[in-house]
Structure formats: structure tokens, C-alpha cells
């Protein structure tokens, strides 16, 4: 996995970028080693991106980017053969469709997020344009990361639709729609109402939800601060460049100082230019943060699903209780609680015995149904809790490891940048001393 890790990524020449890439490859390595999943059997990568034009849904011309997904069977590689990879092209919207399908089909799984749809937290130089080559490249990396995470997930990786996505270029969309997943999707409104009205959600899930809120707010604050710092840093470095120009121009009219001034100008220019590399490196870490920003949303989705199932259970239980009460009232004639029927009975007299019988019968059927419903809902709820809890633990471990690793790699990168800076200025100092 390590070799193709390098193959997938941008060619890196200097050390700092190398260590950062190694960090990411380490991530991929762990994904393979720890779980007996699709990734073990198949090597996956998103190799390229290309621009295409075509007609969209409203029959208008549009340009979009497609990404090349390459897969190769692992056992072939293990045997030393090097077969040509199977490949197909997919665009971002298809990735979205896949993810939506996964979200609906596995509501107890924290589904890995896609890279952002539009560039956010942009600073000065970074383009917000979706067609910008840097953005496309970063998205390619993000999509690959998504596929790798999904394919290494113990539950998600076995899904047939996922296999289909990776292997069959045509007709995949139809297959997905045929699963009817869209019908199973919970309505937003339903979910929202459940969040407010649920009475006894599992405390652990509430804690998890609270945590996901914090994760989201912290990462977005961090990203915003980072964008501001990047902007300011960029400005500072560029100012050095301006003065570099002044020095270079000035050196032309000086005799004794000419060389010294010119080298001063040169150093200022080099310093100013170095910011581009630095910020590009940092962007990589910003992307990793963003992944967890979006993960927070996925985590919250699982918690919301729990709230929904719990709420439905509560509703079903409540419904059953009220029906049983009605039955009791009807059969014993004792009105325990205020009911409309009780009142009308008092006012207009009891109804005829046949009618009563019919109603009792109906109620008994409804009660039976209700009990089934409660049983089902209980099972659904408990299953969801169980599976979701397992996955949330898994997610927590993964997150802790990933962020920690990212932080260390970031520190390593910073160390190397500092060393470079020191080197640069000590060279400059040498030149100045000769002035």
C-alpha cells in the first residue's frame, strides 16, 4: 500500500513534503492492516482528473470534472504480477449519490465524508473556483481518501453497491435507484421533530452529540483562524519581495555597494517566494482538519437517527398504552382519565352493545398490531444503539489516532520549515557581512 500511496500523490521532492506524505501513507497502511475488508482484497486509487463537457439535466452545456478510479486485485500484486488496473470515470455527483445511499442504508454507521463541495475557508491566494487545478487536485486526493476509508470499514466495505460503484461504469446509477433507498430516507422534518420531542434518549448518544457539536465548532474556528493567519503571513512575505525589488533596482546605480545590495534583494525575493510552498503544505493539513469537520456532521447524523428511532418507539408505546386504556374503558365502563368518548357517553348515553362489541374487536386488533409495532420498534432501536455504539467507538479510536498523527506531522513540517528559514537567513547574513 505504501508504494501506490506514493504513486497516487503528487510527486514530492523536498523532505518536508515527503514526511507529510509518509504520514498519510501510514494512515492508509493502518487502514489495510487492521481490518479484514475490501481494501485487503483490492487496491483502489483515484488516479487522475479530467475536464469534460456535456449536457446536464436541463439540457444546458456544462463543464465538469471526472475522476479516474483504478482498481487492482491484491492477490495479483502479492504474487508479483502487475496487471493493468481496471478503471472507470466518475464525477463528484456520483460520489455524492453513493454516499447518500450509504447514509440511508447504514444509519448506524458514521459514514466517511466527501471532500468539500465548494472551497471554504479560503485565504488570499487560494482560489474558490471549482475548476482551479489546485482545487481539483485536492479534491482528487479527498475522493481517494473517501474511497479508502469506506473500503476499509468493516461494515461498509461489504456493500454490493459500493462494489458496483468501483467496477461497473455504466448503469450504476440505475442500480442504485432501484434499491429504493430514497424512499427509506427519513424526512428532515420528522428527524427534527424527533430531536425536540424525544423523552428518553440514550445518554451516551446525547453525550456523543454534544461532543460532535464541539468538534465541529473547534475545527471550524481553527480553520478560520488558520485562514486569517495565512493571509497575514502571505502579506508579510510579499512585502519582503517588494523591498527585494527596491534593493535590486538600487544596486544598479551603486558602485561599492552594488553587489551587497543585489544579494540583499535576491535574498528578500527568495524569502518572499518561500511562502507559497509553506502555505501549500499547510493546506494539506487544513484538508485533514476539514475531513473531521465533516465527520462531526456524520456523527451527529447517527445520533439523530437514534433520537428518531427512540422517538418512534416512544410514540408506538404511547399509542399502545392509549389503545389499551381505551379498551379497558370500553370493556369495564370505568373512565379513568378524561376522554371525549367518556364525555359523550355521559351526555348522550352509552352506545348500543353491538357497536361496543365491534369497537372492542377493532381495538383488540389494533392492540395486537400495536404490540407488534412496539416489539419491532424496540428491536430496531436496540439494534441501532448496539451497532451505532460499536461504530462510534471505532470512529473515536480512528479520529484520535488520525488527529494525533496529523498534529505530529504538522509539527515535523514546521520544524523543517524553521530550519529552512534559519538556513536562508544565515546565508543572507553571510552575504551582508561581505558588504
Amino acid at each position: 500500500m505504501a508504494e501506490d500511496g506514493r504513486e497516487e500523490s503528487v510527486a514530492a521532492d523536498d523532505d518536508s513534503q515527503h514526511t507529510a506524505e509518509d504520514g498519510r501513507n501510514g494512515l492508509n497502511n493502518t487502514m489495510v492492516e487492521e481490518s479484514p475488508t475490501l481494501l485487503r482484497r483490492m487496491e483502489i486509487c483515484v488516479a487522475e482528473a479530467e475536464k469534460r463537457s456535456g449536457k446536464n439535466a436541463v439540457n444546458m452545456q456544462e463543464t465538469f470534472t471526472v475522476y479516474l478510479i483504478e482498481t487492482r486485485p491484491m492477490d495479483a500484486l502479492a504474487e508479483g504480477r502487475n496487471p493493468a488496473p481496471d478503471s472507470l470515470w466518475r464525477r463528484y455527483s456520483e460520489f455524492e449519490l453513493l454516499r447518500n445511499y450509504l447514509l440511508v442504508t447504514f444509519p448506524y454507521i458514521v459514514v466517511p465524508p466527501l471532500p468539500e463541495k465548494r472551497a471554504e475557508f479560503v485565504w488570499h491566494k487560494l482560489s474558490a473556483d471549482n475548476m482551479d487545478p489546485d482545487f481539483v487536485e485536492r479534491r482528487r486526493v479527498g475522493l481517494e481518501n473517501f474511497l479508502l476509508r469506506v473500503a476499509s470499514h468493516p461494515v461498509l466495505s461489504n456493500d454490493k453497491i459500493l462494489h458496483h460503484f468501483l467496477t461497473e461504469e455504466h448503469g450504476w446509477k440505475e442500480v442504485v435507484y432501484e434499491t429504493g433507498f430514497q424512499a427509506k430516507a427519513d424526512s428532515r422534518l420528522k428527524a427534527l421533530s424527533a430531536t425536540f420531542r424525544v423523552r428518553n434518549p440514550d445518554k451516551r448518544f446525547m453525550d456523543m452529540k454534544h461532543y460532535s457539536d464541539e468538534l465541529q465548532s473547534h475545527t471550524s474556528q481553527l480553520l478560520r483562524a488558520r485562514a486569517r493567519v495565512a493571509d497575514r503571513l502571505y502579506g508579510v512575505y510579499k512585502v519582503h519581495g517588494n523591498y527585494g525589488r527596491v534593493f535590486s533596482e538600487w544596486s544598479a546605480i551603486e558602485r561599492e555597494m552594488g553587489d551587497g545590495l543585489q544579494s540583499a534583494g535576491h535574498h528578500m525575493d527568495a524569502y518572499a517566494a518561500s511562502i507559497d510552498d509553506i502555505l501549500e503544505e499547510e493546506e494539506h493539513y487544513a484538508d485533514q482538519l476539514k475531513e473531521y469537520l465533516f465527520y462531526a456532521e456524520a456523527l451527529r447524523a447517527v445520533c439523530r437517527k437514534h433520537e428518531l428511532t427512540q422517538f418512534e418507539l416512544e410514540m408506538a408505546t404511547q399509542d399502545l398504552i392509549s389503545k389499551k386504556q381505551q379498551h379497558e374503558e370500553l370493556s369495564t365502563g370505568i373512565v379513568r382519565t378524561f376522554s371525549f368518548k367518556g364525555m359523550t357517553n355521559k351526555l348522550f348515553g352509552q352506545e348500543a352493545p353491538e357497536q361496543r362489541e365491534a369497537r372492542l374487536k377493532l381495538l383488540e386488533e389494533l392492540i395486537e398490531e400495536g404490540e407488534e409495532a412496539v416489539k419491532d420498534k424496540t428491536v430496531e432501536c436496540e439494534e441501532h444503539v448496539e451497532k451505532a455504539w460499536v461504530d462510534m467507538q471505532r470512529f473515536k479510536e480512528q479520529k484520535d489516532k488520525d488527529l494525533r498523527e496529523a498534529l505530529i506531522n504538522y509539527a515535523v513540517m514546521q520544524v523543517s520549515m524553521c530550519k529552512k528559514g534559519i538556513q536562508m537567513w544565515s546565508n543572507a547574513k553571510e552575504c551582508f557581512l561581505k558588504m
Binding site: 502579506g235 508579510v236 525589488r245 527596491v246 555597494m257 499547510e282 494525533r404
Partner: protein, 352 residues
């Protein structure tokens, strides 16, 4: 070190006075011949003079509000009565000193300070920037072999009240008259400028065109410039580039002196020999020679001090940046070390 300043502050306008008195006699501490100049130089080198400019304070009077700076002098020079002096001076006083020095030494390069509108834009702390500029100005005067012995400087450093001395400079009208005369003479132009001064002139022209580009950069700068750059390197850069104006003025005055001499000589040749005129012409010729040689010396002094100052500023910038990086490096390396030691402890957020 900043005092409390009222919201409405009447900062003095810079008056750029081109001062020419009618008889430019170099009696004010200036030598009458090249040789005595050297003697004076050697004498004063042995005596020490330290000047500091600090403690800005605002003064409110009925008419105006202004800022004064404390000027402290410590000296072992014999021409000073005491060894320590402390006076308060305002910006106008510094301007007076400069214009007096320029007036008395027309062909010496007197350091210029703070052009309005350029420096302000870097720094919120205008008072501090100005203080630094005034400090540099006095340092330059103190280091200058001829100017440091000027009586004007002594008065500036020691007199508690500068007002009576300021009044001694020629009135505006006489100055104006002198200027007009000089202008009319200079229109005639110089016959044959010595080559070294032509080269100087060319250099000065080129230098002043550099100012335009520097000014453009300053105006496009964001206020978040690195602290060190704006407090050390840029002021030095600006000082020297601003000198282009001073240099031009000095060149012009030298040209005028030469022109005056040539004009007088021509007049004499036309009217025939007259003893008195001949004496005058002789004096003027000597004057031209003295001016030329003093300017030459000052010129090379100025250039070498520019080189030194720039070198120092650049070195300090490089050093400063290196220290900054070393500090950052230490922080990150300590962090890495702590992470590797902790091992199992979980960190959830990055710390950029």
C-alpha cells in the same frame, strides 16, 4: 514612553527652508582653508559627546498643543561648560538646528529627517517613529567631523530657552532677497563643472528616481508589516533614499557658489583690472575650492556611512529573523518531544 496626548493634536508642519544669507562667510565653526579643517577634525575626535532623545511629552498652551522631547547630553568636550545637559526641544527646534547647519555649511550634507506622509503610514506610533528619526539625526550630526563642532549645535544642546537664539537667524525677508539673488545667478549656470561633481549629479538624479518606487511600495503596504522590518531596516532605507533631495540641494548650492565666482570673474575681466574686485574674485575662488574639497570629503563620508548603516540594518534583520525561527523551532521540537513521551495521551485539536 508615550505620554497622554489630547485627541486634537496640532502637529507641526514641516517647513523646508532653503536658507541663503547674503554673505556666505564660513565663519561659523567652518575652516577657512583645507589644512585648518584637518586640524580641527583631529582635535575633536578625541572628545566625546553622547546625545539622547527621549521622553516625549505634550504641552498645552493657550494657542497650541505640541510635543517636546527631552534631549540629554553627556560630554567631555572642553568647549562645553558642563559635562551634562538636559533640555526640552520641540520639532520646530530640530528644524531650526538643521536649517542653521545647512545655512552655515552649504556644501555639506546635513542629514534629513522625517518627511511627512511617508513614515506615518507604517506605524501607529507616530511619536515614537519621529523620536527615533530625531535621535538618528542628532547621531549623524554628532558623528560628522565638521558639524559636531558647530556653535548652533552647542546652543541647541545646552540653552534652556532656544527662542532668543532662533531670533538671530536672518529674517524671512532678507532670506527671500538672498534666495532671489541666488536664483538669478544660478540661471546663468555653471561653466564647467568638475567631473567628479557631474558624476555625483548623475548619481543623485538616479537615486531620487528610486524614491518614487519606494514610495509606491510604502503606499501599497498593509499595516501588518513585521515589527523588525518596519522599525529597523525600513527607516534606514528611507533615510538614505530621502537624502536624494538633500544631495540635490547641496549640489545646487555648490553650483551656485561656483557660478557666483565665475560671474564675478567675468565681470572683472570685462571691466578691466581693479584691485578690490580682484581681491573679491580671489576670495570667491578660494571659497569654491574649499567648498569643493569639503563636499568631496563629505560625499565619500556620506557614502561610506550609508554603506555601514545599511549593512548593519540588513545584518540585524537577518539576525532577527534567524532568532524568530530558532524560537519557533524550539517550541515545535519541545512539542514533538512531549508528544513522543506521552504516547497514549489523546490530543483532539491541532495547534497551529
Amino acid at each position: 514612553m508615550s505620554a497622554q496626548f489630547p485627541a486634537h493634536l496640532d502637529l507641526e508642519e514641516e517647513e523646508d527652508l532653503e536658507v541663503f544669507s547674503k554673505n556666505t562667510s564660513l565663519t561659523d565653526g567652518g575652516p577657512s582653508s583645507p589644512s585648518s579643517m584637518m586640524n580641527q577634525y583631529r582635535e575633536e575626535e578625541e572628545e566625546e559627546l553622547f546625545i539622547t532623545v527621549d521622553h516625549p511629552e505634550s504641552h498645552v498652551t493657550a494657542i497650541e498643543t505640541f510635543i517636546t522631547y527631552r534631549v540629554m547630553t553627556k560630554t567631555s568636550r572642553s568647549d562645553f561648560d558642563c559635562s551634562e545637559f538636559e533640555v526640552r526641544r520641540r520639532y520646530q527646534d530640530f528644524l531650526w538646528l538643521r536649517s542653521t547647519l545647512e545655512e552655515n555649511h552649504p556644501t555639506l550634507i546635513v542629514h534629513k529627517f522625517v518627511m511627512k506622509g511617508m513614515v506615518e503610514r507604517f506605524n501607529d506610533d507616530f511619536i515614537e517613529t519621529r523620536r527615533r528619526a530625531l535621535q538618528r539625526f542628532l547621531d549623524k550630526i554628532r558623528d560628522h567631523p565638521l558639524l559636531r563642532g558647530s556653535p548652533s549645535l552647542k546652543v541647541f544642546l545646552t540653552a534652556q530657552d532656544l527662542a532668543p537664539h532662533r531670533k538671530q537667524t536672518p529674517s524671512l525677508l532678507s532670506r527671500w532677497g538672498g534666495t532671489v539673488k541666488m536664483l538669478s545667478q544660478s540661471l546663468r549656470g555653471v561653466r564647467s563643472r568638475p567631473e567628479e561633481f557631474s558624476l555625483m549629479q548623475d548619481y543623485v538624479e538616479q537615486l531620487s528616481s528610486k524614491i518614487c518606487s519606494v514610495d509606491k511600495i510604502c503606499s501599497s503596504e498593509t499595516q501588518s508589516c513585521t515589527q523588525h522590518l518596519s522599525s529597523v531596516l525600513i527607516p534606514v532605507l528611507h533615510d538614505y533614499l530621502l537624502c536624494a533631495d538633500t544631495l540635490k540641494a547641496v549640489m545646487k548650492r555648490r553650483d551656485n557658489i561656483q557660478a557666483e565666482y565665475e560671474a564675478k570673474r567675468e565681470a572683472m575681466e570685462r571691466r578691466g583690472d581693479q584691485e578690490q574686485q580682484e581681491e573679491e574674485v580671489q576670495a570667491l575662488q578660494e571659497k569654491v575650492e574649499v567648498c569643493n574639497s569639503s563636499l568631496q570629503e563629505d560625499w565619500s563620508r556620506w557614502r561610506s556611512s550609508m554603506r555601514t548603516d545599511l549593512k548593519t540594518a540588513l545584518l540585524s534583520t537577518a539576525e532577527n529573523n534567524m532568532q524568530h525561527y530558532e524560537k519557533c523551532l524550539a517550541v515545535w521540537e519541545t512539542f514533538l518531544l512531549s508528544q513522543r513521551e506521552e504516547g497514549s495521551e489523546q490530543k483532539e485539536e491541532d495547534a497551529p
